[in-house]
C-alpha cells in the first residue's frame, strides 16, 4: 500500500496524519453545522412551539435537557468504544479521542442535571429528588470526574491511556449496575421515555421536529468538540516529541 492511496477503511484514520488531514475540513464543517442546527432547534423550540396544556412554557426546557442527557450517555458509550479500540488495536488517535470526549460528556451531564433541576422546581416542587434517573446521572458525573482525574494524574501517556481504558470498561459495567440498583430502589418522579421507536405517538410533531433538530445539533457539537480536543492532544504530543528531539540534539 502506498502512502498516496485513498483511504479505503475507517482504520486508516487511525494514522494521526490522515486524521489531521480529515479533521482539517471536517472540524469546521461540523462546528458550523452544529451551531446552525442547535440554533434552529433551540430557537424553534423556545419561541415557536405551543405551550403544553399542563406544563405550560416550562416544557420548553426539554429542547435543552433531552439532547444534553442524550449526549451525556452517548459520550460515555463513545469513550467505551474508543477505549476498546485502543486496548485491542493500539491506535493512539482512539485513546486521545476518548480523553477528549470525557470533559464534553461531563459538561453535558451537568447541563442535563442543571436543566432538570430548573424544570423540576416548578413541576415537582423540588430542585432535586433522589429519583433513579437523577441519581444515575449524578453517579455518571462522578464516573466522568474519576476518569478525567486518572488521565491527568498519570504522566506517561500510554500508561494513562491503558489505565483509563480499563477504568472505562469496568466503570461502564458498574455504571449500568448502579442505574438498575437505583431503579430497584424506587420508581421515582421522572417521567418515562417520551421518544420511542414504537408506533403510537407520545409527543406531537410540533415538539418532535425541533427536538430532533436540536438533538442532531448537540451530537454535532459533541463531535466538533471531540475533534478539536483530539487535534489539540495530537499537537501537544507532537510538540513534546519535537522538544525531546531538540534537547537530544542540543
Amino acid at each position: 500500500m502506498t502512502s498516496r492511496s485513498q483511504p479505503s477503511t475507517l482504520w486508516e484514520y487511525a494514522n494521526p496524519v490522515r486524521f489531521m488531514r480529515l479533521s482539517d475540513w471536517l472540524l469546521p464543517a461540523c462546528a458550523v453545522a452544529a451551531l446552525v442546527l442547535s440554533a434552529i432547534g433551540l430557537i424553534w423550540g423556545f419561541f415557536f412551539t405551543p405551550d403544553d396544556f399542563r406544563q405550560g412554557a416550562t416544557v420548553k426546557i426539554l429542547f435543552l435537557h433531552v439532547p444534553a442527557a442524550l449526549m451525556a450517555i452517548n459520550a460515555w458509550i463513545m469513550m467505551l468504544v474508543a477505549s476498546l479500540i485502543w486496548l485491542i488495536r493500539r491506535h493512539h488517535v482512539s485513546a486521545l479521542a476518548a480523553r477528549a470526549a470525557a470533559p464534553v460528556g461531563a459538561v453535558m451531564t451537568l447541563i442535563a442535571l442543571y436543566t432538570g433541576a430548573v424544570w423540576g422546581q416548578p413541576m415537582w416542587g423540588t430542585w432535586w429528588a433522589w429519583d433513579p434517573r437523577l441519581t444515575s446521572f449524578l453517579i455518571l458525573f462522578l464516573f466522568y470526574l474519576g476518569y478525567m482525574a486518572l488521565w491527568s494524574a498519570i504522566e506517561d501517556g500510554d500508561t494513562a491511556a491503558d489505565l483509563t481504558a480499563v477504568l472505562c470498561l469496568v466503570g461502564s459495567v458498574f455504571a449500568l449496575l448502579s442505574r438498575y440498583a437505583a431503579f430497584f430502589w424506587s420508581q421515582g418522579l421522572h417521567q418515562g421515555a417520551s421518544l420511542s421507536l414504537q408506533p403510537g405517538t407520545r409527543m406531537d410533531w410540533a415538539y418532535k421536529a425541533p427536538l430532533y433538530i436540536s438533538m442532531t445539533g448537540f451530537g454535532l457539537i459533541f463531535l466538533a468538540l471531540v475533534l478539536a480536543g483530539t487535534r489539540t492532544e495530537i499537537r501537544s504530543r507532537r510538540m513534546k516529541a519535537l522538544m525531546a528531539r531538540e534537547r537530544m540534539q542540543g
Partner: protein
Amino acid sequence: MIALLVRDLRLAFRAGGGFGLGLGFFLILAVLVPLGVGPAPQILATIAPGVLWVGALLACLLSLDRLFALDHEDGSLDLLATAPVPLEGLVAIKAFAHWLTTGLPLVVAAPVLGVLLNLPGPAFFWLVLSLLLGTPALSVIGAFGAALTVGLKRGGLLLSLLVLPLYVPTLIFGAEVVSRGAQGLTVGTPLALLAGITAGSAALLPFAAALAIRINLR
C-alpha cells in the same frame, strides 16, 4: 499463594500494619453520627442501616491505598509479578487478605455499633448477613482501584474518587437488605443481587486488576 496470604496477614497484624484502623474509624463514625443528628431513637433507627453501611464502606476505603502501594515501594510487587503464580490469583489473594483484616472485623463489630445506633431488633441478623456477603465485593473492587493507582505517588485521594462510584450498587443493595429487614419485609431480592455483585466482581475484577498492575509495572 497460601504463603502470600499468611505473609499479608502477618504484615497487617504487626505494628504499623494498619489493622484495626478501619475498625476504629467505623467505631468513631458510629459515635459521631448520633452526636451530629441528635439522640432521638426514632431517627437513629431509621438511618442506622444506611449509616452502618456507609461506615463500613469508608472504613474499607481507608486501608485500600496500602494494598499494593507498600509492596510497590519496596519492590516486592515486581517479584510477585514475576513469580510462577498467576498475577490474577495474587490479586485475589491480596484482596482476600484485605477482607480478612478489614471486612471481617467490620462484620463482627457491626452488631455492637447497631446497638449504639438503635437498630431495630430483626435487622441485626440481616445487617451481619448483608455485610458478610457485601464486604468481599468492597475489597475486590478496592483492589482494582488500588491496582489502577499503584504507580502514583499520592494516589490516596484519587483512589477514593475512583472507587466510591464503583461502590454504589453494593451500597444500595446492602443498605436495602438491612432497611427492609428492619421493617420486617422480605429481603430475598436485594440479598440475591448483593451476592451476585460479590460473586461477579470476585470472579472478574482480579483479571482487570492484574491487567492494571501489569500496565503499571511496565
